[in-house]
Amino acid sequence: MSKIGVFVCHCGENISATVDCAKVAETAAGYDGVVYSIDYKYMCSDPGQSLIKSAIIEKGLTGVVVASCSPRMHEPTFRKACAEAGLNPYMCEMANLREHCSWVHEKGDATTEKAIDLVRILVEKVKKNHSLNAIKVPVTKTALVIGGGIAGIQASLDIANSGHKVILIERDPSIGGHMSQLSETFPTLDCSQCILTPRMVEVAQHENITLYTYAELESLEGFVGNFKAKIRRKSKSLDEKICTGCGQCTTKCPVKKIPSEFNEGLGKRTAIYVPFPQAVPNKPVIDRVNCTYYIKGKCKVCEIVCPTKAIRFDQEDTIVEAEVGAIVVATGFTVKQPDFFPEYGFGKYPDVITGLQFERLASASGPTLGEIRRPSDGKVPEKIVFIACAGSRDPAKGIPYCSKICCMYIAKHAMLYQHKVHGGKSYVFYMDIRAGGKMYEEFVRRAIEDDGVNYIRGRVSRIYEKNGKLIVKGADTLLGAMPVDIDADMVVLATAGIANEGSEELAQKLHTSYDSYHFFSEAHPKLKPVETNTAGIFLAGACQSPKDIPESVAMASGAAVKVACLFSQDELTREPLIAVVNRQAAPVFSSCVGCFLCVSACPYQAIEKEEIKNRTGEVIKTIAKVNPGLCQGCGTCVAFCRTKSIDIQGYTHEEMYSEVMALLNEY
C-alpha cells in the first residue's frame, strides 16, 4: 500500500500568486494513498527539504510528489533530499506548477484546478514507480586515439599525462598530419615543425602511449567504458624492431620518381620511403603499389643494402585487438583538389597550385628548401596571385560553408612571399576577410599595410596562359566591379577544407553521426562540442569542421579531459532510465517472441539477442536483451514492441497509463 507525501511549494510568490497552494495540498490530501500533504513557501530551501526528509522518516513515505518548479530545475535537488532520508530517489516526482501553470495563467479557479490535476497525475504515477538503482558499468582505462595529427597528438599526450594508457593509430607512415607540412604558422610566424616535432617525439617516447602508424580502425564493438577495437596494421614490409632507420634502403631504392604525398606532389620520393626527415617513427615503409619487386617480382635492392636485414617482403597485415574505454576521433580534414575548377586551370597549368603546396614551397624542409620557385621552371615568381574561397562559400560547388582557415593562411602566404621575394608583387582576391581570433586581424593588417600585399575584393572568373604568364581575370567589387586583369607568374588557390576521405565509413564503424558534409557531428553544437551522440566517443580537431591549430589543440585537450573524467572512476554510473526486456519464469522466460523488429528501431544498437538454453545447452528461445551500457533510454523500442515486452524504467507502461487515467478521471 503506497504512502505518498505531497509537498506544494509557493516558490515565494511565483506559484502562490496565481495558484491556491493550500487548496492544492488539501485536495491532494484527499487522494487514496496520500498520507501527508502540505504547502510551504520554499520547498527547495533547507527547511523545505528537511520538511520532506522528516516526513519521509516519520510517515514512512513510499513516494514523494514535489509540486513546485520544472523538474529540469530541481529534480536532482529533491531526489537527493529523498535519498538522504532513505527513500529511493526515483520514488520522487515533480509536478511543474511554476513554468507550466502559475507563470502562464492568470490567478483563478481554472489555474488552481490545473495545478491540482498536475499533482494528481504524478501522485498516480509515483504509486506505480519502482525503486531504481543507478547502473554501474566497468571502465577500461585505455583510450584509443584515431589520427596522429596535432589534435590526435595533443589528445594522446594529455590523456597519457593524466596517467592513462593511450593507443594512437595513424593511417600514414608517420604522425604529424597537416601541421608537419606547414611552413610557418599564423599569427606568430613561428616554424610549424619546430613546435610540432618535439611533441611527435614525446608521443613516440611516452610510456603510456602505444603508437601504431600505417594502421587503421578495422571495426569497433561494445559501448562506453568497454569498447573492443580491431586495428589493422598495414604491412610496412619491414621488421621495425631491427630496423635502425639508417636510410640506406631509401637512398639506394631505384624507383625515385614517385610524387611525394608529404610535398603535395611537388617533390619526389622512392618506393621504400620515410615521408619526411623528422618523421616519427623514422623508419621506412615499402609502397607496394610502386615497388618494382611487388610489380615485377624482382629487385630487392633494399633487402640487399639493408645492414640489419630488416626487410620483410612477405610480411602481411596484422589485426591488433584492443579493449578501450574511450575513443577520440581526430582524423582531420583534407583540401579539395581544385581540379573541379576548370576555369582556374588547375592541373592544366603547373603554376596554379593549392595553399598546401605553397606551404611546401615556403617550407625549409620542402622541395625548394624554402625558396619560392614556381613548379614549371623553378623561376622565382615576380607576380603572385592568391585566390580565397576556392570552393568555399560556394553552394554551386557544393561547399556552402566557410573553410575558416584560408583567410589567415593566405595573409601568411602573401606575407611569406613578400619576405622571401623582395620586390615581388602579391595580390589576394577575396570575398570577405574573416580574421576573428587573437592577433588575427592585426596579422592581416600587417600583411596589407607593412608588407604591401594587394587585397582585391572580388572573384576571379578565369585564368588562362598567355605568353608565359597566367592571366588572372577578376573584378574589384569595391571599385564598382571594375574588371582586373593580372599577368601573374604563379597562382595559389585557397581550396576548401573538406572532410577526410573515408570519414563517413569511419563514422559508421563508430556508430556516430556525421553531417551532410561528412564531418563528424558533435552531440550538441554549443554545450557538447567534443562529445558525439555515442557515449564514450569524442571528437578533436578538423574532423568535426575545418579548424586552425590553436582551436584543434584546444578541442583535443577538451576531449582529453572528457576521457580523463571518464577514466577518473572505476565504474560508470548511469541514470537507470533505460529499456528492459521482461523476464518470466520458465517455460515462458519472456513474453518477447524474438521478432527483433526493435533492433532497427533502436538508435543506439543497444538491442542484442539473448539465447535461453536448457540444461543440456540447447537453445529453447531467443529473445531481445537491452545492453544497459548502450541504451540511452529514448523508449522508441517500447512504443514499438507488439507484445509490450520491452518497458522503460521511469516511464513504464503502468506509469504513463496511470498518468493518463489520473488526468481525466475523478479520484
Binding site: N96, W103, A601, T636, I648, L663
Partner: protein, 149 residues
C-alpha cells in the same frame, strides 16, 4: 459552446517541447489553461494506445509534440515517431476518429512562444469542434445487460 471547457492532453518529449514549455513559463507568456502536459523521454516513446486512452477517458483534444527533425536528443526518436503518426493518423481517419482533434507539432526548447501558440490554437480549434461526445458515447457506453441486438 461558451460554457464548454475542452479537456486537452499533451504528450510531449522531455528535451524539446517540455523544455520549450518551461521557456514559455520563464518568459511569462500566457496561454489557455485547458492543457495538461504528460512528459515522455522522447516522442519515440509515445505509444499510440495512449492517444486512444486519452479519448476513452474523456479528452476532447490531444497535442503530441517533440523535437524538430534532426534535433532529437536521441538522434532519431522523432523520425520514428513521425512515421508512426503518419500511419496511425491514416488509420484513425479511416475508422472515423476525428483527427482534427489531434494536433502534432515540433516545438524546440527555444520556442516558448510557439508552445503558447500551439496550445491556444488547439484550444480554439477544440472549442469550435465542441466536446467529443461521438467518441465518449462509445467509450463510456454503459455495459448493456444484453449486448447483442
Amino acid at each position: 459552446m461558451a460554457d464548454f471547457e475542452p479537456k486537452i492532453v499533451a504528450f510531449v518529449c522531455n528535451w524539446c517541447t517540455y523544455a520549450g514549455a518551461d521557456l514559455t513559463g520563464t518568459s511569462r507568456i500566457k496561454y489557455a489553461t485547458n492543457v495538461r502536459i504528460i512528459r515522455f523521454p522522447c516522442t519515440g516513446r509515445i505509444d499510440y494506445m495512449l492517444l486512444l486512452k486519452a479519448f476513452d477517458e474523456g479528452a476532447d483534444g490531444i497535442i503530441v509534440s517533440g523535437c524538430h527533425p534532426n534535433d532529437c536528443h536521441y538522434t532519431s526518436g522523432n523520425f520514428h515517431a513521425r512515421r508512426r503518426w503518419i500511419m496511425f493518423r491514416e488509420l484513425c481517419d479511416f475508422v472515423g476518429i476525428d483527427i482534427n482533434r489531434v494536433l502534432f507539432s515540433w516545438v524546440s526548447a527555444a520556442e516558448g512562444s510557439k508552445w503558447a501558440d500551439v496550445v491556444n490554437t488547439t484550444v480554439t480549434r477544440i472549442r469550435e469542434l465542441g466536446p467529443y461526445t461521438e467518441y465518449q458515447k462509445v467509450a463510456k457506453h454503459p455495459i448493456r445487460e444484453v449486448t447483442n441486438g
